[in-house]
């Protein structure tokens, strides 16, 4: 019997288990999946937690309920991959041998990378919302905050869901409006990029929205340290920005497992072929989701498109057939803009987000790069789709893994 092991039972690993267990079955194959956690978190929900839009129970389920019964689940911390010997070592000392390995250990925040970030003010006036604990601490702070300077800040790129900090700023604007205290809050959006987003067309649309909502933008800011006493962030050029509440997206990194295994780049991401999702170094190792270094967005929707293509490629690999170079970097993200509206963007490696309709050319019902209530409903529906469709590896009708160019306004 051959062994396929999946490292990480988050969004991407769970989808792979659900895709592959129909295909690689006993007595020829045993699929195993390893994760150190008990709970599966719907991470996009962390955005809504601070504003009391979602409750913790909306976004937490057990890992177990999404793993098929014929897949072996190990609840253990993975200490090391030994790729030259095709085995994985667990924290309890056990070793598992594999024929094919899938790395889906995701990315996490590393506030310790920035001096003073995890200092005396951490989770008092300096918050993250990329962890459950951070989002909850921030919710408790915002519930009775009297106003002042709110600074939303990105430390460095890449980060997961690169639009989340913008969405946070928009939601903050509408949160304080509803509390009739918007005039008491000054919102500043601080980014290391030269504009609101990484893609020119979307940047234009998003900067317009920031302006409309009275949110200041400070660009090209490369943070050097957080001054906990003066409550300000300082960049390498000596620029300072004062805050009463700092909501920061710390540096994101792959899991330290990859560093221990000597398999990561300087941010612990695994060098991966961007079209096949095969590791650049080891033919029997594949990588998807936030753990890889491919130049695509680190988003659940991307992991979903990758999973469809990677399933094909793994089946080809085990049959000794050549891999398909199919993945085009397709990403599809709703961007909450506050007041019950949202934008939708759809893009890939070569095409930036543009205007148009989705998923049906000329019909929609969703509008690309335009604010609408329908898009907001889409964003909220995404949670249901995530739990009930995405994780189970079901194909979403009408939405293809590679990007469609029809119905879009390219120049």
């Amino acid at each position: 019997m051959k062994n396929l092991i999946i490292l990480g039972a988050g969004t991407a690993g769970t989808m792979m288990a659900n895709h592959l267990h129909h295909q690689l079955q006993s007595p020829d194959w045993q699929i195993s999946i390893i994760d150190e956690r008990e709970e599966h978190h719907y991470q996009p929900g962390y955005l809504f937690l601070p504003f009391d839009i979602y409750e913790p129970e909306d976004i937490i389920k057990t890992i177990e309920e999404f793993i098929p019964k014929d897949v072996k689940l190990f609840k253990q911390k993975i200490s090391r991959i030994v790729p030259t010997e095709n085995k994985v070592q667990l924290a309890n000392g056990d070793e598992l041998a594999y024929d094919v390995l899938i790395i889906a250990t995701g990315a996490k925040i590393a506030p310790e990378e920035t001096e003073g970030m995890k200092g005396s003010e951490w989770h008092k006036s300096v918050f993250d919302f990329y962890t459950f604990e951070g989002a909850l601490a921030l919710r408790n702070k915002l519930r009775d905050w009297q106003g002042g300077k709110l600074v939303v800040h990105i430390t460095e790129m890449p980060i997961k869901c690169p639009v989340a900090p913008l969405e946070f700023s928009f939601l903050a604007d509408s949160f304080f409006k509803h509390k009739h205290m918007r005039d008491k809050v000054e919102i500043t959006y601080v980014t290391p990029l030269s504009g609101a987003f990484t893609k020119p067309k979307a940047t234009e649309a998003l900067e317009h929205l920031l302006h409309e909502k009275g949110i200041h933008i400070e660009s090209d800011f490369a943070i050097e340290h957080v001054d906990n006493e003066k409550k300000e962030i300082v960049d390498y050029g000596g620029r300072t920005i004062p805050f009463d509440i700092l909501v920061t997206i710390p540096t994101n990194k792959g899991d330290a497992l990859l560093e221990r295994s000597g398999m990561g780049d300087d941010l612990n991401y695994v060098p991966t072929h961007k079209a096949t999702l095969q590791s650049k170094e080891y033919a029997n190792i594949f990588v998807l989701g936030d753990a890889s270094n491919i130049p695509a967005s680190k988003a659940g929707s991307v992991a979903h498109f990758e999973a469809e293509i990677l399933t094909d490629n793994i089946l080809r690999y085990v049959k000794g057939e050549p891999l398909l170079e199919e993945f085009d970097g397709h990403a599809n993200c709703f961007i909450e803009t506050g007041n019950g509206k949202a934008l939708l963007i759809d893009f890939n490696y070569t095409h930036e987000p543009v205007e148009g309709s989705f998923p049906f050319a000329g019909i929609g019902p969703l509008r690309l790069l335009k604010e609408s209530r329908m898009n907001h409903m889409g964003k909220l529906a995404f949670r249901w789709i995530y739990w009930n469709v995405l994780l189970k590896g079901t194909h979403i009708p009408f939405v293809s893994a590679t990007m469609s160019e029809s119905g879009k306004k390219f120049d």
């Binding site: 690169p162 990484t198 090209d220 050097e224 390498y236 050029g237 300087d266 130049p295 967005s297 990403a331």
Partner: protein, 102 residues
């Protein structure tokens, strides 16, 4: 589009980055630096050379990478190129603006 830099006609993109490195030479670099109000010292040239080599080796450039280069730390990099240092330095070096991540 074409731009006259140091008396030569050179092809640049909308943001003023050279699109053909073979058109670059030191006087082009000096002229672009002057546009950014920077006077190039030997230290600047070391950094520019480093960026060009990394680009040739297809290494994706980032502020973090430069901090770990062993050549300059980020603080000094900012002293050399005070405003948006990576964008400014790559422009002077005649290489593409680093693709900011997605």
């Amino acid at each position: 589009m074409e731009k006259t830099i140091a008396g030569k006609s050179i092809t640049v993109n909308e943001e003023g980055y050279l699109t053909d490195f073979s058109q670059w030479d030191k006087t082009v670099g000096e002229t672009l630096a002057a546009e950014a109000e920077i006077t190039l010292t030997p230290r600047h040239w070391e950094v520019i050379k480093y960026l060009q080599d990394e680009h040739k080796n297809q290494v994706a450039l980032s502020i973090r990478r430069i901090g770990k280069s062993g050549l300059v730390d980020i603080k000094e990099f900012y002293q050399l190129f005070p405003v948006a240092p990576l964008k400014t330095a790559t422009k002077i070096a005649g290489i593409p603006k680093p693709a900011s991540c997605i």
